[in-house]
């Protein structure tokens, strides 16, 4: 059966969350699926509530990539998250620990998770070997 994102209510201040790490997520309007097209800004193809789900599943197990100072996320072995077929999402670590997080879909020819994070994803069966190779070679 096709994967369905669980629905999540937005807080009064526009954020989603908190996650079990007490992190909040604030969708960036210029990455939203309804945003105007801008060069160098990818757009989600899923709802804001689904954006939060993508963030939460990366935040709680802490899918961190130290070299890029961010979290990466992947859903259901590579479900499409962005309007150009992007299947990974990136969430930069906020410079201020109390700030809300935001994120956007990304193609791996722009940035990719570290080999350590990919080792972990493969061990925990988050990704398959074929998906790993596509990520590592910048093809996903």
């Amino acid at each position: 059966m096709a994967f369905q994102f669980p629905k999540q209510k937005r807080n009064k201040n526009g954020t989603y969350g908190p996650t079990s790490r007490n992190h909040y997520y604030l969708p960036a309007p210029y990455h939203s699926r309804t945003a105007e097209k801008r060069p160098n800004k990818t757009r989600w193809c899923v709802s804001e509530s689904a954006e939060y789900y993508v963030f939460r599943i990366a935040d709680e197990p802490w899918w961190v990539c130290v070299s890029n100072q961010c979290l990466f996320s992947v859903v259901d072995f590579g479900k499409i998250l962005g309007e150009n077929g992007e299947r990974l999402a990136i969430f930069p670590i906020p410079s201020n620990a109390n700030d809300s997080w935001h994120g956007y879909p990304i193609h791996t020819d722009e940035a990719k998770p570290s080999s350590n994070l990919l080792d972990r994803w493969e061990e925990e069966a988050i990704i398959t070997p074929h998906l790993r190779r596509k990520i590592e070679t910048g093809r996903l």
């Binding site: 150009n84 080999s115 398959t128 070997p129 074929h130 590592e136 070679t137 910048g138 996903l140």
Partner: protein, 417 residues
């Protein structure tokens, strides 16, 4: 017409057809090989009535489109009979079980896993890993395949792509750049430059003796090289049946550089419209964001350098077909290409899109420079290796025939003078 498919179950990470052998890196960290002759014999022991067709498919693709074959295939009744036989064989979707230890010869342990690319070239194997590139020397004397010594590390940076031509190799090291290796030295070993020729490289493609460096899947730079023709013996051989006299060495990499914007100056679309691109020796292929799939020929303009012709050739299929999604990679194939989508692989050939595999795959390889395996497509899946062979279309045969006739007429004219 459907491809003739042979499936070999294996715990494979990557595979490659070279010099009559199927090479495979297994998930247990071993590099192994099995001869195509063995695969062929195993198949005809069960399907003896397809002996000739399987020989053409597995061992001798050149017998389908060399000048003798073309002469036979232009005889309509002969061609129809052969096509009928091929269709019957292709309907079988052959599967052959090879015993991991009995039928796959272990050549070496692969010390760094996973691998990101493999290339067999000039009797050598190159493996790209996260900690660099390893090279192994192969010997095929008297049909006895051996690895001479161990895999040796020749390059240290994390490498995701390898390409090779006339003794020159390019190593794509992602964010660490693009490096050049050469076999043109007396020791006959691959010497890799310490200098990077680009800031980023995901893969490279040779355009004649120049290099197209793909910094992104939708963006490249054109690096024009300087070459010299060498006299005397080449310090390396391509294979045991090496008959080529080509001796061209790249003596200066990236002597001139052109951005994708410059190369596309005369093309009726901008680089920002490109979703994925790749090249063959003479053409560049573009999947555009609006779904079109086009190719353009390279041309060298005397004063302005390398450009793509303004005329584009529009293939009549939408690359963003709902059923297929967007392309993830593509490789050239005679009069077409093989396109990898997220969860399937398709062959674009004779203006039609034919599904080859209906599941996600690890790698797709074609062998356009090979003589005997030019029509093969080697696809590594998580559950095994699928070898496809494609029968030449009537259009291909006509083209080969026309070109052979032109060459014959030219030879006759030369003799007359």
């Amino acid at each position: 017409m459907n491809s003739l498919r042979i499936f070999i179950p294996a715990e494979a990470l990557d595979s490659y057809v070279y010099s009559g052998y199927l090479f495979c890196v297994f998930r247990d960290g071993t590099l192994r090989a099995s001869s195509l002759q063995k695969i062929y014999e195993r198949l005809i022991s069960k399907h003896a009535h397809f002996e000739g067709t399987l020989q053409l498919a597995i061992l001798r693709n050149d017998w389908q489109n060399n000048s003798q074959a073309v002469a036979y295939l232009t005889i309509s009744k002969f061609r129809k009979a052969l096509e009928k036989e091929w269709k019957e064989a292709a309907a079988n979707r052959f599967t052959i079980e090879l015993g991991k230890d009995k039928d796959w010869q272990v050549l070496s342990e692969v010390t760094s896993m996973p691998i990101y690319d493999m290339r067999l070239y000039a009797n050598r194997i190159y493996l790209a890993h996260r900690d660099g590139v390893r090279e192994g020397r192969l010997s095929f004397k008297n049909h006895d395949l051996r690895m001479e010594g161990r895999l040796k590390k020749i390059f240290d940076a994390r490498t995701v792509g390898i390409s090779a031509k006339t003794g020159n190799l390019m190593f794509s090291a992602d964010e660490e750049g693009l490096y050049f290796g050469s076999l043109w030295n007396e020791e006959g070993v691959t010497k890799v430059s310490a200098k990077s020729y680009a800031k980023k490289s995901l893969r490279t493609g040779w355009a004649s003796f120049d290099i197209i460096n793909y910094e992104k899947q939708s963006y490249f730079s054109y690096l024009e090289n300087e070459i010299e023709r060498r006299k005397g013996k080449r310090p390396f051989i391509y294979s045991e049946i090496d008959e080529s006299s080509e001796k061209i060495e790249v003596v200066r990499i990236a002597a001139r550089r052109y951005s994708m914007d410059e190369v596309l100056e005369r093309a009726p679309f901008k680089y920002t419209e490109v979703q994925y691109c790749f090249n063959s020796a003479t053409k560049c292929f573009f999947f555009l964001k609006d779904g079109r799939f086009v190719f353009v020929n390279f041309v060298q303009e005397p004063l302005k350098g390398i450009r793509l012709r303004s005329k584009i050739h529009d293939f009549s299929f939408n690359a963003h077909d709902e059923a297929f999604g967007s392309p993830y990679s593509a490789v050239a194939f005679p009069l077409g290409c093989v396109i990898e989508y997220f969860d399937r692989v398709a062959l674009f050939h004779n203006d039609a899109l034919i599904t080859l595999e209906e599941s996600p795959v690890i790698s797709v390889r074609t062998f356009p420079a090979s003589r005997r395996f030019r029509r093969q497509i080697c696809i590594t899946r998580e559950d095994g290796i699928a070898l496809h062979t494609v029968f030449p279309t009537h259009h291909e045969i006509s083209r080969i025939n026309e070109s052979a006739n032109r060459a014959y007429t030219a030879r006759q004219a030369e003799q007359t003078f």
